[in-house]
Symmetry: C2
Subunit: 731 residues, 2 copies
């Protein structure tokens, strides 16, 4: 079988399970493997095993019984319906249900994933990778569809804009969670045209720190965030995933405090009181303080060292020492960040959430704090500490001169300038912004796409060389997993082993990158208005590079659903708000068209700075409210669809009910009939004096015709002096 | 029949329709009346007509056909179910549905109201009071249940706190909309205990303008608003009205721009584009500006006159002239407010909303602006204009001395003091706050409860006197509606005529009053910390007085539903936010414990004022976020109920589906059978070389047992140098 064929065919395999037994007792591993295979089979899945690399077994899984598959689809759709994701109850007959609502590739894979991982009470095999009894199950993943991947990359790399249909395609293949990332990045990319265009104009004609640019950028950020909020809901409706975040995917790690039998349903309830969790969540406060202090100290220290070296220090090795702070930062920051991220993970574990969504939200908010500090603190320090207070602080940097005395050979003292001697360097801020918006983006791209590719290639070469050397040394061919491959499957299995070795794609990281980028734009781009132009170019490439990354460097991701980009939306909103503060402060402090102090700290007055921040912030909030209200009123295809569905359902029931009532004789006629036929009977009853006042009251007029007659009389005789007695008699 | 009996019995009447034909041609009126009676009868309602006062006919309505009633209940419940208000589809058999979910008095009355007012296509009689063809229909109202009312007032006036059961009772009787008002006021009253207690403490020990009091009050306002937001949702679940605001009660006045046939459902769609509406809504901006200018000018002018007279003017008539600004305000403000309210109404009409809810929301936001200005602008002027800029402005008040020159007899010039001569009067602000929080509350109570009562009594006496005088003059008994009353119904009909004369209860006004009161507390109470004590007392009475008002002075309100207090929640949130700004500014400007400038304008520095506002506001926003997050995590009975209902529905479906799959033979066994029985057949197929690589791949191991066997082999032989050949052969 040629290699191309191996890429073309997935042998009908739906999922591959990697079972690794390197650190487990062999007998136990065998038992576990057998248990797993039996469970898979009972869940209606067919299996094949093959040898994997490094003490592992590859278990290939495909649908064996369509009943189980259909039942799982039905159960999932019922769950959706109960949580309001679907508006119609799915038919018990799945064929019919599938006809109305065909299965996408994503739903198919998700359903099979459910069969493998759901608990047995819900019809699954109950296999939870890496957890408890299933610690040997290293991973569960689907195989790439290389034909599709090829087409996908080809298509995207040749078109300028992605169409909604391209996003639908992603959704059908990769699930809504990943589709939301691409939809967001695409929307962000399209919106970027505005600040990029205006930024270019501002750079050419308005100069740096233009108030006009700040206003346009702020307004843009509001409109973009609010528009996305709206668009997201529309996409959720379009993709039929509205309210999906309400479906609580239970966390397996959740440990309840009490297990109580529900008095009503008799079901076991696993309870962890909200109070207890709130107490644990209070730990977030010291966590955030610690994060701010730790990262803040490192960044501030490096910042101080850098200023000292570049603007104060005049001793030897200056050219070498300039790199010292960068060195400290690039080694120290990732190290501290990873420690803090670990702490955030443990803290979130400790908070003991019941559902995956809650867990993720809590974790995101913590990592957002870390990211916020590492990304924006350096720029904040330059603009809000170095510029206004530089003259006050720099003299204290003398402490460093003590540290560098040993390097000073000729006894020359490194002396900090006094306040009056020192002048701030206004270009420093711009340089920093250019670094973060251009250099860092390129470095990031390289780290994300190019480096892993080279690493993989290198690793493969290294492996091959090692094997060859061993073989040369021992003279015997080194045994590999491939030796046991059945005939004709070698290429296919090699491909599977390769995919099993790949990393897991985490859409979270890509999303984070976009949000951080948005932050530079919303918070600091007034310093260098070309920033959005750089982002525009970067994101065009980024979108395609991410597609390539998913196809080539990562395992095929499980197609999870989502109805929102989740906590990132809050982050965007928060950043855009902060932007109204930083932008106005920067414009006030640095702009020099007659009003601003042009970055001269002596000219900055507290009340003017605070007033511009105060006005700008409240203007921002007002505009945001207006934009939000206006956008919420825009009708979208998704909403129309929803409304139409509701309307037609309602009309159906309404019609049925109305027809049913129409079959009954019109009560007006009936009442009339009664009047005519049972008049005597009624008279008799009345004469018996058994009638209550109430009965008498309602018996005066029989049917609407009599009532109408009396009404006519009342109206005619009104203000008329003719005999009331006659009217009264009629009553 | 004694009067008590007349009060006790409603004669089985469900609704009374007042048909007034004073200004209509008699023939036309008769025709319309007849049409109305026919329609009512066709909708399944029994009718009786009696003569009303002043050219009117009273149409009594009760359920005539239970089929129509049940069909209407069914249709309403289906509507609820489709909009997610009910979680379960209602049974077509209404008896069964009623057994599960019994009819409350409120639902019964609302259903009958629906039969009268819903369009004929939906099974109603299509009578819309006062609109178009039905302009003669003055009102549609239910009769008071005097027995219940008596008990209600007795119960409430003897208990200190209202229980949740009391509120449930209100909900069952008056509907959720009114119940929400009482629930809110009760919650607000209970919460008031905290600032009232601390306010008393602050007044005794901390003095005015205490920062501690400001912090407690701000914190309290955040907690209260957020808690109510949470509580409201819980109440909505408890009362089964969640999402009820999503049910669009269509406005009859809505005039569409296009009427299009929907291509999918074939239904007529009445469309008014959101763009067009947005354009019309832009008129809100000039409206708000006009309101601010008009009311602002009046209030500022009166304010200036008042200062001039009380603190500058020394001429004659000073004691009389002091009342001049009050006179202008009390006549001018209601006049201008009512003009602006009318303008707000027309503007909202012009905005042409499709549903009642949208209309109400838009109208509320406009009247909120008017209320905000009239209620808080005077205090804002004193604290933020008079105090800091008094010295600058007062000399300009000289203009008034020109106006009062004619009054000055002895040629003495009224001369404004110059800046240096004039001293601000720090007690002015406190006096104003006391006026708004005590005097105005009492006046308000009197205007709301006492005055209408006296007015009614007076009017009745006046009518009687007039009739008596006429009779004396003409010697003939003046004919009244009562003369035509059938025997034994006189007292009852007199009562009905009386109720028809009453005002319509508007829960909106009562709600507004509470929100405005909350505003004084959140914005200005730091000036006089006893304000919450005054409110606490006022609200205890207010709650009972409102109950009396509904029972005695108003027609029985139609029991509308609601799932929120609606736009007022936004107003509360906005006020509480503003509070963080005003409170901090007041504390900074007036507190004198060593830091503040003690109200001496010369000591107020711009940056310190702005910094305290900036810090306080952001602290407020941070705390609000924390409180909101914490409160949203609290589990409530309503939520538990909802979750349980979802869970049990899901379990039902899940069980059914699982049992169905279990009936199918376990596919593992099946696969095994195939292996054993058709082994030869497969071998033959394979030998025919017709098998694809994929078929071959999946045929290597038959069933999970064979797969497990191979897996065991892989694990056992791993890192073992014994014959791979044997393993390979097994494959």
């Amino acid at each position: 079988m040629a290699k191309n064929q191996a890429l073309a065919s997935n042998m009908g395999v739906d999922y591959v399970i990697v079972f690794r037994y390197a650190t487990t007792d062999k007998a136990q591993a065998e038992e576990r493997l057998e248990d797993m295979l039996e469970r898979l089979s009972n869940a209606g899945l067919a299996t094949e095993v093959r040898k994997g690399e490094n003490h592992s077994v590859l278990v290939f899984v495909k649908i064996g019984s369509s009943e189980h598959m259909q039942a799982e689809i039905y159960r999932n759709r019922v769950k959706d319906w109960i949580h309001g994701v679907r508006s119609q109850e799915p038919a018990m007959d799945t064929d019919k249900s599938l006809e109305q609502d065909p299965l996408t590739e994503a739903e198919r894979l998700r359903t099979i994933h459910g069969l493998i991982t759901h608990i047995r009470d819900e019809g699954g095999a109950g296999i939870t990778p890496g957890k408890g009894k299933w610690e040997n199950v290293e991973s569960v993943f689907a195989l790439h569809d290389h034909n599709y991947n090829k087409e996908w990359i080809k298509k995207w790399s040749t078109q300028y804009l992605l169409t909604p249909e391209d996003l639908d395609e992603i959704r059908d293949r990769m699930g809504e969670k990943i589709a939301f990332y691409f939809a967001f990045t695409q929307a962000y990319f399209t919106f970027l045209a505005v600040p990029a265009g205006f930024g270019l104009f501002a750079w050419l004609f308005l100069g740096y720190y233009s108030a006009w640019y700040a206003i346009v950028a702020s307004l843009w950020s509001v409109v973009f965030v609010e528009w996305w909020n709206h668009q997201e809901q529309d996409l959720a409706t379009r993709w039929g995933v509205k309210n999906v975040s309400g479906i609580d995917e239970k966390r397996k790690e959740f440990s309840p405090k009490h297990v109580v039998d529900d008095p009503v349903t008799g079901e076991q309830m696993r309870i962890f009181p909200a109070r207890d969790r709130l107490q644990r969540q209070l730990l977030q406060i010291p966590f955030v303080i610690a994060a701010v202090l730790i990262l803040g100290t490192l960044i501030s220290a490096c910042f101080a060292i850098e200023i000292f070296i570049s603007e104060v220090y005049t001793g030897p090795f200056k050219s070498v020492l300039t790199f010292l702070p960068t060195l400290i930062l690039t080694t120290g920051l990732p190290f501290l960040s990873s420690i803090l991220t670990k702490a955030a993970n443990s803290l979130t574990d400790f908070e003991n959430y019941e559902t995956e969504a809650q867990y993720e939200r809590s974790l995101t908010s913590k990592t957002f704090v870390i990211n916020f500090i590492t990304s924006y603190l350096p720029l904040c320090l330059t603009s809000f500490v170095y510029v206004p207070f530089g003259k006050v602080i720099v003299p204290y940097l003398n402490v460093f001169s003590v540290a560098c005395r040993p390097f000073v050979k000729d006894g020359k003292q490194v002396q900090c300038p006094t306040s009056s001697q020192f002048d701030i360097n206004p270009a420093r801020l711009r340089k920093q912004v250019i670094y973060f918006t251009v250099t860092a983006q390129i470095v990031n791209f390289a780290m994300e796409v190019v480096v892993p590719y080279l690493k993989r290639q290198g690793l493969m070469k290294f492996k091959k060389m090692k094997t060859e050397r061993q073989e040369k040394k021992s003279g015997v061919a080194v045994r590999s997993a491939a030796d046991l491959d059945p005939e004709g499957e070698t290429d296919f299995l090699a491909r599977v082993r390769n995919e099993a070795d790949m990393d897991v794609y985490n859409v979270y990281d890509d999303m984070k990158e976009m949000v951080v980028q948005f932050g530079y734009l919303a918070l600091f781009s007034v310093v260098w208005p070309l920033a959005p132009v750089s982002f525009l170019i970067n994101n065009w490439i980024e979108l395609r590079a991410d597609a390539v990354k998913i196809c080539v460097e990562m395992r095929r991701p499980t197609p999870w659903r989502a109805d929102t980009i989740g906590p990132w939306l809050d982050a965007l909103s928060f950043i855009s708000w902060m932007g109204s503060i930083t932008m106005s402060a920067l414009v006030y402090m640095f702009s020099n068209d007659g009003l601003g102090p042009d970055g001269q700290p002596s000219d900055i007055t507290g009340w003017a700075l605070l007033l511009s921040i105060f006005l700008s912030e409240h203007l921002y909030l007002g505009v945001r409210w207006l934009v939000r209200t206006s956008i919420s009123k825009i009708d979208t295809p998704g909403r129309q669809k929803e409304r139409r569905a509701l309307f037609s359902t309602r009309r159906k029931y309404m019609k049925a009910s109305l027809e049913k009532t129409k079959l009954a004789p019109p009560p007006g006629e009936k009442a009339d009939d009664i009047t005519r036929n049972s008049l005597e009977e009624d008279a008799r009853q009345a004469s018996l004096h058994s009638a209550t006042p109430q009965e008498k009251f309602w018996d005066r007029q029989r049917g609407w015709k009599e009532a109408a007659k009396m009404g006519r009389l009342f109206i005619e005789r009104d203000n008329d002096d003719v005999d009331d007695a006659r009217v009264k008699k009629e009553l």
